[in-house]
């Protein structure tokens, strides 16, 4: 087999292997690649261009490709439009994200270590159950959870969205951690065990410092998941001041006169952090996606 490292390098830049000599074929490949790139990028361009138009210019057919004048004030105006509380919603989203990330990192690290490095009866059964839960349709647990959270008075608080993260941190993250910990040499750990170090200390002092990549991958994925989550907040949050950004965007749709440029401006603002994360953590994200696919 080709080594993991080679697969990875090959995806990030393909200069390392043979190239086709046939120039017609290269031309054909380029043609399709460029056409596809246009199809994939044009919608994003449209989001940006629409966000800079006036409400009147949006309702012109055929539409203008660039705005007549770049209306940058759509961004501040959309931010404070009517009863919208974008600052508040941003703070809410960040609060939930931070709590979920803390919970996920702590509990996925603990569980990942337990599954990877300690052998005990029942371990594999539990691990299979963890993996199986990835495939479970969420609706099967949704209603009892809603009823349960209703009973304990957690509805319309952030608790239903954050507390579960402290209980495992998601099957996929546990899986990632376990895979990574399995690759750490046993000798390191055995020496420490013989010296009488406790498991927690080993995890904290030996494993965690070596686990930068997997911790970063988990963080990026968790950030992305919480930032994008729509269904959870929709079910569990009801009052407007508790909304998240994702819920806030749909607010525009309920308005009598939908303000398309504002809506696009706020959507674009929501995309920006994802783009930033993507450019800084591209390798990590791609690696995570690959792990989810080929190692499962």
């Amino acid at each position: 087999m080709v080594s993991d490292q080679e697969v990875y390098r090959g995806i990030l830049d393909l200069d390392w292997r043979r190239r086709p000599k046939d120039s017609n074929r290269i031309l054909f490949v380029y043609l399709i690649l460029i056409l596809s790139a246009v199809v994939f990028l044009l919608p994003l361009f449209w989001m940006v261009t629409t966000s800079l138009k006036t409400q009147a210019e949006v309702y012109v057919f055929p539409p203008t490709f660039f705005p007549e004048t770049f209306r940058w004030q759509n961004f501040p105006e959309g931010w404070t439009y009517e009863s919208m509380q974008w600052t508040r919603w941003l703070v809410n989203t960040l609060t939930i994200t931070a709590a979920v990330m803390v919970g996920t990192l702590i509990s996925a690290t603990l569980c990942g270590y337990g599954f990877a490095r300690i052998s005990f009866p029942g371990r594999d059964v539990w691990f299979i159950m963890v993996l199986a839960s990835i495939m479970l349709p969420g609706t099967v647990t949704l209603i009892p959870l809603f009823v349960g959270f209703h009973r304990v008075g957690w509805l319309d608080t952030f608790l239903p969205l954050t507390v579960p993260a402290f209980f495992g941190g998601g099957a996929f993250n546990i899986f990632l951690m376990r895979q990574f910990f399995k690759g750490i040499p046993v000798e390191l750990e055995e020496a420490a065990l013989i010296d009488g170090a406790g498991r927690l200390r080993i995890l904290w002092q030996i494993f965690v410092p070596l686990s930068g990549p997997v911790i970063a991958t988990t963080s990026v994925f968790t950030f992305q998941a919480v930032w994008n989550d729509y269904f959870g907040p929709l079910i569990f949050l009801t009052s407007q001041e508790n909304y998240t950004l994702a819920l806030g965007i749909t607010f525009f749709k309920g308005l009598y006169n939908t303000q398309i440029p504002y809506m696009m401006a706020m959507s674009f603002l929501m995309v920006i952090p994802m783009i930033i994360v993507f450019f800084f953590a591209q390798k990590l994200m791609i690696r995570g996606v690959i792990l989810s696919g080929i190692k499962a």
Partner: protein
């Protein structure tokens, strides 16, 4: 305490978060939901046992139920295969060892990082019948305007088209698979005089079947739970043409507070997903190639 005992105790302590998590947030609710599916449960009163009535009503007298099943099946049956093929073709293209791949890879993957809600809002606008960009392009090319979400005949198809924008994640997985095929296989094939098409059919495709299989299973499970598209863009219309299963379930639970009926729907969905997954797993013996078999 011997070391075996100690390992057991320590092991369970380490995995206790997920053990508790599975019990509290997955297994417990699943069983509760199963019980609820046999009750009438309007949330503010206690569940009242009504036996199989939810299921009977669901299967026999609720016309919307079969419509929701149909919509979801059509969507899963078209968007998943199309997405698989699209992602596969893009991955093959990216695997062609030409310059500038990094740019194309980023372009194709970019839509996959756009938050779903932003992408829906955007596509709702792109596919607007009167002012949308896509109709502007169609008109420019000499076609007539397409109705997209405005007509029952085209709304679901529009959602399938929209879903193809997000094939980037699948593409990355295929690309990794393609990169993992040992070059020596192709070299051996060439020595035997195979042409490109034969190499593709007898090496690339078989070597990729485990990846295709994984994407197929996960794709089907995800598609069966489609909700946001319909909830945000069409509310299930026009004329219930995009009335997805989970939209109906959501309405039963949260608009009509029929928690019992919604639980019955959730369990039927679980049942169908299980059967489908089992069928795909069963069929995998026929078409999925595992390297271990030849070793």
């Amino acid at each position: 305490m011997n070391s075996r005992m100690r390992n057991t105790v320590q092991g369970y302590l380490f995995i206790s978060p997920v053990v508790l998590g599975l019990l509290i947030f997955t297994i417990g609710p699943m069983l509760t939901s199963f019980y609820m599916s046999f009750t009438k449960f309007p949330l503010l009163r206690a569940p009242e046992w009504i036996g199989l009535r939810n299921y009977v009503v669901m299967f026999t007298s609720d016309k919307n139920f079969w419509q929701a099943c149909k919509v979801t099946l059509i969507y899963a049956g078209t968007s998943v295969p199309l997405g698989l093929v699209g992602a596969f073709v893009l991955a093959i293209l990216l695997n062609q060892r030409v310059k500038g791949i990094a740019f194309f890879r980023t372009s194709f993957y970019m839509p996959a990082i756009v938050p779903a809600i932003a992408s829906l809002i955007l596509w709702g606008w792109l596919m607007n019948r009167d002012y949308g960009l896509i109709n502007a392009i169609l008109v420019r090319l000499g076609f007539s305007k397409f109705s997209f979400f405005a007509e029952p005949e085209t709304a679901l198809a529009s959602m399938v088209m929209m879903s193809l924008w997000g094939v980037g994640a699948g593409m990355i997985i295929y690309l990794a698979g393609l990169q993992g095929i040992p070059e020596s296989l192709y070299e051996a094939g060439k020595l035997d005089g195979a042409n490109e098409l034969q190499l593709f059919r007898s090496i690339t495709v078989p070597m990729m079947t485990p990846t295709i299989f994984f994407n197929l299973v996960m794709g089907l499970i995800a598609a069966s739970q489609t909700f946001m598209n319909a909830f945000v863009l069409t509310s299930g219309g026009p004329l219930k043409s995009t009335y997805f299963y989970n939209l109906m379930l959501y309405e039963r639970a949260f608009n009509w507070t029929q928690m019992g009926m919604a639980s019955a729907m959730a369990w039927f969905l679980l049942f169908v997903v299980l059967v489908l997954t089992l069928l795909v797993f069963r069929s995998s013996a026929l078409w999925v190639f595992y390297e271990a078999e030849v070793k």
